[in-house]
């Protein structure tokens, strides 16, 4: 090993995010002290981001199998079968830490990374979604983070050429110091042409593809495995720089060499770049890997082995190539103007051997690097159950009409047009339902099949009760997919939490995973991919627990997808589901009463399943004219959204004896608003299916009429709904 490298000191080890006991484990595994490059490689493989060391034992409890699951967690993305010889490849991944430090590039490269995960497996990306959590609107950084993140997502996805069709945007002071950017990509591949990352065959060439390696993003994965202190801004050099143009070329070139049968195994260079991709390919294939760094295409001169192994330069891939196809594969990459370099080979030794300038810079046991990373069973504290809030005890501070106006003009419920109009959501010509509905609907190739896509989580529920919150996130995704008429197939989870070394945070993580698992089992909605982002914390203050669920559903005929807009005047409005009026943790309680309190609504998974199946049959049999899931803000907010989307009003009446504000704004689960021409037929079906149903009004006019309340003009409601975000973003920065 070279003597030019720094000596290993306890400070250096700490700077690499390795604990003393972890370092002792490395020395024991190797039988000697590591070199500087080797220390860097270990830190890259053993950080939280790459090793899942705090979450692994809990993630193992999640249901991941179903007859339609082709590939569950553990690959670049999950794969499910949708018939006709086609597979859907999808995953959601966070890019939280980089997006806070440098919003535009952080978010852009988050999109780039998740797209590569999907096309690495041989799929052409057909849609993206983004779940975004920002700090309080009044926080001085929030506006800049929103502007940068949204522009970054658009800048990358629009140029790459994939429609961004959905997602979420929320604001809460608990994200003041850590925004969340969770990007989901969905692709379509031929079922029998999925590409995996496990190498096979000894002496096979390992090829470097894509853009050149630079000094950007070094230690990005380690940075993302630690909380922020006062020095967050100083970490900008760890953020990568995105180049969507190169990514588009890489997509086309990769799909072309895959079609030509050149590829044995392929892996994108994401977190921890060359290190992680090479180790994964070798370790999964029970093979060693030797790399000659002199052959790595570099953007800068004089890069050290350490820098090359830890660079997170974007738009790069590593491939194990069929040797006889080298010329063909190279010519394809040259045509697209991309780098192509054989930089190593697979070996029988199970060693990870790195040469640079004729010197061995690292010689490590490859299996141990990946599989022997520490796994922690961290101690955790169960969250304390919060009291159930009695709706009758909550005094309404304003009229129902005023409360509705306030809610639909609030940051979390207002229209997100300012955001989604910066994303090209119509490119590829297959977007059946654009952003703004319960789920986006995207046609598969020329149809008739289509995918429904959604992302959901209610962090305030997760904080109040991690188990119920975890269940609710899955249930809401299930509902949103059902509300457009699709059959929910599988999900991807993106678990965002604070520092797991704190017992209460670990308790949130464990509770949410249990809830997600329980709901996924009950709803036959397996988890096929995911990502964990911990240490979302600044100066000891953690984010709200935010386990984002990305759901995928299947429609057999895209022309039958259901939308939430009212369709005609004089139709009956029906509430499907129970009507208890649950105000604990509701947005009514928070935005109108100024209280963030109480137990969140419990999730009855049997009711979720029964009601969703009922909704899907109504849609299938043409009995429903509009369907909308009821979630944040309750029934009245859902109704207002249906009215605003159609510019058709409604005359509404709360059932006799109901507590008005709890009825209209309670956030009970497993519920939908449905409109129908023939309410009797729908009611009869509901009775037969043991689904609670209540007629609450009829569509018509240009006004929402609520019993004795002041009538609400739709035009005025739309102004409030559409107004908040553009005017907030237009204020001086």
């Amino acid at each position: 090993m070279t003597s030019r490298e720094p000596a290993i000191t306890p400070e250096l080890i700490a700077e690499h995010g390795l604990k003393p006991d972890e370092y002792a484990r490395i020395v024991k595994l190797m039988g000697r002290e590591p070199s500087f490059t080797e220390l860097g490689i270990f830190s890259a493989m053993w950080n939280e981001h790459c090793s899942y060391k705090s979450s692994k034992i809990h993630l193992r409890t999640l249901p991941t199998k179903a007859p339609w699951v082709i590939q569950g967690p553990g690959e670049n993305a999950g794969v499910i079968d949708i018939g006709d010889g086609l597979a859907v490849v999808f995953k959601m991944e966070s890019h939280n830490h980089p997006s806070y430090i440098e919003p535009y590039q952080g978010a852009a490269t988050g999109v780039g990374g998740i797209l590569r995960d999907v096309f690495t497996m041989g799929a052409r990306p057909i849609a993206c979604l983004n779940a975004l959590s920002f700090g309080d609107p009044s926080h001085p950084k929030t506006r800049r983070v929103v502007a940068g993140v949204v522009a970054g997502i658009g800048g990358y996805g629009n140029s790459f050429g994939v429609p961004t069709v959905g997602g979420e945007v929320r604001f809460h002071r608990r994200y003041d110091g850590n925004c969340l950017v969770n990007a989901m990509a969905v692709g379509i591949a031929a079922k029998d042409k999925i590409f995996y990352s496990a190498a096979s065959g000894v002496g096979m060439p390992i090829v470097y593809l894509g853009s050149k390696t630079g000094r950007d993003g070094i230690h990005g994965a380690s940075m993302a495995s630690a909380e922020f202190g006062a020095d967050a801004e100083e970490k900008r050099p760890t953020v990568q720089v995105g180049d969507p143009f190169s990514e588009k070329l890489l997509l086309e070139a990769c799909l072309e060499i895959m079609a030509e049968g050149c590829v044995i195994a392929i892996q994108d260079m994401g977190a921890a770049g060359l290190t992680c991709s090479a180790v994964e390919m070798g370790a999964k294939g029970d093979l060693g890997v030797t790399l000659d760094l002199d052959k790595v295409p570099c953007r800068e001169t004089g890069m050290s082995a350490y820098e090359m192994m830890l660079s997170e330069s974007q738009e790069r891939m590593l491939m194990v190539l069929k040797p006889e196809k080298e010329k063909l594969a190279e010519s394809i990459f040259r045509k697209w103007g991309l780098d192509f370099a054989v930089i190593g080979e697979t070996t029988p030794s199970k060693r990870f051997l790195i040469r640079h300038g004729g010197t061995v810079m690292a010689d490590l046991p490859i299996k141990e690097l990946g599989d022997e990373a520490p796994v922690y069973e961290r101690p955790f504290a169960e969250s304390v159950k919060l009291p159930i809030i009695n709706a009758a005890s909550v005094k309404p501070p304003m009229s129902i009409a005023d409360a509705l106006e306030k809610l639909i003009g609030s940051p979390d419920l207002c229209a997100k047009r300012w955001v989604f109009e910066q994303y090209d959501h119509v490119i590829l010509g297959n977007t059946v339902q654009r952003p703004g509905g319960d789920a986006a609907v995207v046609r598969v190739n020329e149809g008739p099949k289509a995918l429904a896509l959604t992302s959901d989580v209610t962090p305030r529920y997760c904080e109040a009760d991690p188990f119920e919150g975890g269940k609710q996130a899955v249930a809401e995704a299930y509902r949103n997919l059902s509300a457009v008429g699709s059959r929910p197939l599988a999900l991807t989870d993106n678990l965002n939490f604070g520092n797991p070394e704190r017992r209460e945070i670990m308790g949130q993580l464990v509770g949410c995973i249990r809830g997600i698992g329980e709901a996924a089992r009950a709803l036959d909605f397996p988890i096929v991919s995911g990502n964990v982002s911990l240490y979302n914390e600044t100066n000891g203050r953690a984010i709200l627990p935010t386990p984002t669920i990305g759901g995928v559903g299947l429609l057999d005929d895209f022309t039958k997808s259901m939308t939430l807009a009212f369709k005609a005047e004089g139709e009956s409005i029906l509430l499907v589901g129970a009507m208890q009026g649950w105000l604990g943790q509701s947005l009514y309680l928070r935005e109108v009463c100024g209280r963030e309190e109480g137990a969140p609504p419990p999730v009855d998974l049997a009711a979720e399943r029964r009601n969703a199946e009922f909704i899907r049959t109504l849609i299938r049999d043409g009995l429903a004219t509009a369907v909308h899931d009821i979630s944040d803000g309750g029934i009245l907010v859902a109704l207002a959204e249906m009215a605003m989307a159609s510019r058709i009003g409604a005359v509404l009446e709360a059932p006799h004896g109901a507590i008005a504000h709890a009825f209209w704004f309670g956030e009970d689960q497993a519920r939908y608003v449905v409109t129908a021409k023939d309410h009797a037929a729908v009611e009869q079906r509901a009775k037969a299916a043991s689904v609670p149903i209540t007629r609450i009004g009829a569509t018509g006019g240009r006004v929402i009429v609520l019993g004795e309340e002041r009538p609400l003009l739709l035009e005025a409601l739309v102004d409030r709904f559409e107004g908040w975000l553009p005017s907030y973003m237009a204020e001086s920065r």
Partner: protein, 233 residues
């Protein structure tokens, strides 16, 4: 109608355009690589599709305008061949001198994707004769740099010679700043060249061509072109 769709690195609406051409003309277009120097023999229509050619890292369209295939496109135009240039294609056409003017950043400085309304200004061109003059169509836009501008003399000529093909308008056909999302001068959404054989436009008619997908207002443009070539034959 035999069409050729140009493919520059970074172009990304070529598949949308190819599908629209296939659905309406019944014939698969030929994809032509930027490094080629000739168009396929017998080409009736050249399409420069949307996207981000060369990443748009220089001025939009500036590098593509200098690609080898553009020489062939220029001589095709000189011989009277028809060119449809959409979005990035419009920018490339302006940069390569096929059309006057330039597309600047949207007035709001943000990328905008939404459906817009276009008033068809005249129906006596091969590109627009599938519509009626004054008709309003609804098609999507998706661009960050669609704000058309040219010097006063050029604008006066364009207007005087009736070379504005499409204008952003309200749903009932009124030109109104509230319905001009990118701030284009005179609400110009599309123009033709002097000879009338090159159309550049920012909106995407190719994304609204299927009844099953809900909107068909873009069909008229392609159907009109089909009709033009059938009549000529």
């Amino acid at each position: 109608m035999k069409s050729a769709v140009l493919q520059f690195p970074g172009i990304n609406r070529e598949r949308d355009m190819a599908r629209a051409l296939r659905l309406i003309s019944g014939r698969e277009p030929t994809m032509v690589w930027h490094a080629d120097t000739e168009l396929p023999a017998g080409t009736d229509l050249v399409v420069i599709p949307g996207g981000f050619s060369y990443g748009d890292y220089l001025r939009c369209g500036a590098i593509a305008a200098r690609a080898p295939i553009m020489e062939a496109v220029r001589s095709f135009v000189q011989k009277g061949g028809l060119v449809l240039a959409v979005c990035n294609g419009f920018q490339i056409a302006c940069e390569s001198g096929l059309l006057p003017g330039v597309l600047m950043r949207n007035a709001q400085l943000r990328f905008i994707c939404r459906d817009v309304y276009l008033r068809v200004e005249r129906s006596d061109t091969p590109f627009t004769h599938g519509y009626n003059a004054g008709q309003v169509i609804r098609v999507p836009v998706a661009h960050g740099e669609g704000n058309y501008i040219a010097d006063g003399e050029t604008i006066a000529r364009l207007e005087g010679e009736g070379r504005v093909a499409f204008r952003y308008s309200s749903p009932d056909g009124m030109v109104d700043p509230n319905w001009n999302h990118n701030g284009a001068l005179n609400a110009i959404a599309g123009i033709i060249n002097e000879r009338g054989n090159v159309l550049g436009m920012m909106p995407h008619p190719e994304n609204h061509v299927e009844a099953a997908m809900g909107r068909t207002d873009g069909r008229g443009l392609f159907a009109g072109l089909m009709d033009h070539f059938e009549r000529a034959a």
